[in-house]
Assembly symmetry: C2
Homo-oligomer: 388 residues x 2
């Protein structure tokens, strides 16, 4: 096998970007072989915007049965990810799915099971994991040298979207089309990074506000409180309603404090662990000395191209993925737990009842407000991934 | 009347500081005339540390009936504030109480009523209100020019206390002695400033952890979520367990974002209100332009001396107080609501049932763990007021 021959299903905002990246050779180990879209205008867009020969399918079954493709990128709306991934595995294809892994964990578990049985390479587009900032943050914490986590706090309110964004496609920000709002569309990156760096909590209590800043039926404002197994607490705040938002991630540990903000890591290390100091010190207003240490961030943030290249290298040579597709369930479990907590008006323990969540979601889908026909707009998403 | 002749009741950590401030003439319009303490060693401390003649009382009734004093500072433990203030008003004295106003709002309401009926000057030691940072922040928001508040977020975890602090007096950090932990002792300043700047919320849901970082029976770790009348949300996080804590107050408004951190205000102003932009803009990823503006902070942070001087000037010449004693109930109502939410395991609407709160508190007082006799230590509190 020379290059991985890739098919893309779903030619919306993200699918178009993958078409361009692959056709232009940005991911050296992969090349575009086929696309699948039901839309004539999007098929035409692919013809108009590619230099190399690309097979165009309108039917998913034909697409998945194309013997020329080795692997597929699934860039259809969230609900379709598990079903299409399972079709792909059944056809012997490697898979890369867009985030989120799906809309509810019940069928994502089935997808993960199918992935495992297939033995194929399964990745998920968590492009923010390629950011040296979060890689370094994770490395510091996972080293264990700065002690246990005591408190996590992520204010991630820099996902501003005006009403016209929501009006740009019918499926956006509906229960039926996306199964949620900011938690399903914008914040999945941070939900993933949060658990990738700090681990999964065991309890979630969330306050969601639906259509608070926009004329939409799903949440556009979230404040969630969590507790971890070791007793640590956490807060996660996100919205698409703050025009001058914040992206500030603070983690308190027994021996250090770390703040990721403005694209850099600020680290303060304590001369000794706080709990040990508290037990042994005799001065009522004593405090262990903290020293700010310099942290160098190495490497380039390769984002989507980095994820694509790692996925192709995993297929060709068994190299590690940026994000294993099966880990996609973690961020989704967080977002589902936040929704479920809001639906039920109480705290939710993880793992929650997956069927209960699906039932609650489907109640909302059943009465989902269909949007008035609006022109699909090819929105320019460059610079909107919150990588800063 | 030349200078206001002041009596101080309660010669603990704070009382001693007021003795020194007044005896040394730091508050020009007031002078120390008398103190009241049941403790022989504290009476001796006053004799040893004052240059001017000071009448020493061991009995509160004698103290309040001293015809030589015009006004009293109440620096006894929190529970005693309302009762002693009412005794003082009944004796025709002006009053300045230490924060918090009391431990439960039921008797604080009675105190406020007595203050009103007395016609005397009634102040509360919210020394952080003298900070030009918070004054400017309040002025910006109250001007109305940057729109309605959308979100408030205060991480105020810089109140570190080691175990030896809690071991330094028997009354500290017990239900019986303080009626709470960080919310009653350290955070009252920020609870007051939060409401002074942003107004009172209508709903509170709080997660309190009791004795999480210390061997104490009260809370030393708090995460509270609130909602305001206009739909805005807020988060308040405080603890005495973070050795390298944070003091970061962020407010999102329709036309601006403000962050108070590291002793300065960072302000970003939007070219137009977010809600108006969202309604009128046609670009899916459009965002109103934000400009960072310089804010100059004028004036000195006079802290306790500033509060004392304003109180004396209010008595002598009717000038405005830094903080009206009757406003003390607001911060206490926030802290009571957080406790009540935690006691009941549910969200609490304001105003809550004051008797219910008192009953719940008294259950805990009834089983309060008396501490093994520990030496009272004159802890040096300078530099611990979180004024940074």
């Amino acid at each position: 096998m020379g290059k991985v021959k890739v098919g893309i299903i779903g030619i919306g905002s993200m699918g178009k970007q993958y078409v361009l990246m692959l056709d232009q050779g940005q991911a050296a180990a992969a090349e575009l072989a086929a696309v699948c879209t039901a839309s004539e205008s999007r098929a035409q867009w692919v013809k108009d915007n590619t230099n190399n020969a690309v097979q165009i399918y309108h039917d998913a079954n034909d697409f998945f049965n194309d013997p020329e493709i080795d692997a597929v990128i699934i860039a259809r709306p969230h609900y379709d990810h598990p079903e299409l991934a399972m079709k792909a595995f059944a056809s012997g294809l490697h898979v890369l799915i867009e985030k989120p892994a799906g809309v509810y964990t019940k069928n994502v578990l089935e997808m993960n099971d199918a992935a495992k049985k297939s033995g194929k390479v399964f990745g998920i587009m968590y492009n923010q994991r390629t950011n040296p900032l979060y890689q370094k943050l994770r490395e510091l914490i996972h080293s264990g040298e700065i002690g246990e986590i005591k408190r996590t706090n992520w204010i991630v309110t820099h996902w501003y979207r005006p009403q016209s964004y929501y009006d740009s496609s019918k499926w956006r920000a509906t229960w039926e089309g996306e199964g949620g709002g900011v938690l399903l569309n914008q914040a999945p990156h941070q939900l993933d990074l949060w658990q990738w760096i700090c681990g999964m909590p065991k309890k979630v209590e969330a306050h969601l506000h639906y259509g608070k800043w926009h004329d939409i039926e799903v949440e556009d404002d979230v404040t969630a409180y969590v507790e971890y197994e070791n007793g640590a607490t956490g807060v996660f705040i996100t919205t698409t309603g703050d025009a001058c938002g914040t992206n500030r991630f603070e983690i308190q540990l027994d021996r250090a404090k770390i703040i990721a903000e403005y694209g850099k890591l600020s680290v303060w290390e304590l001369e000794m662990g706080e709990q040990e100091f508290s037990r042994t010190n005799k001065v009522p207003f004593g405090c262990p000395k903290a020293t700010q240490i310099e942290v160098e961030l190495d490497g380039k943030n390769e984002q989507h191209v980095g994820v694509l290249n790692a996925w192709a290298a995993a297929i060709l040579r068994g190299e590690p993925l940026v994000a294993d597709g099966r880990e996609g369930i973690n961020g989704l479990m967080l977002s589902n737990a936040m929704h479920l907590s809001s639906f039920l008006g109480r705290e939710v323990e993880l793992p929650f009842d997956e069927q209960l969540f699906k039932d609650e979601l489907m109640k909302r889908v059943a009465t989902s407000r269909r949007k008035a026909a609006s022109e699909a707009v090819f929105a320019d998403t460059s610079g909107t991934y919150g990588g800063k």
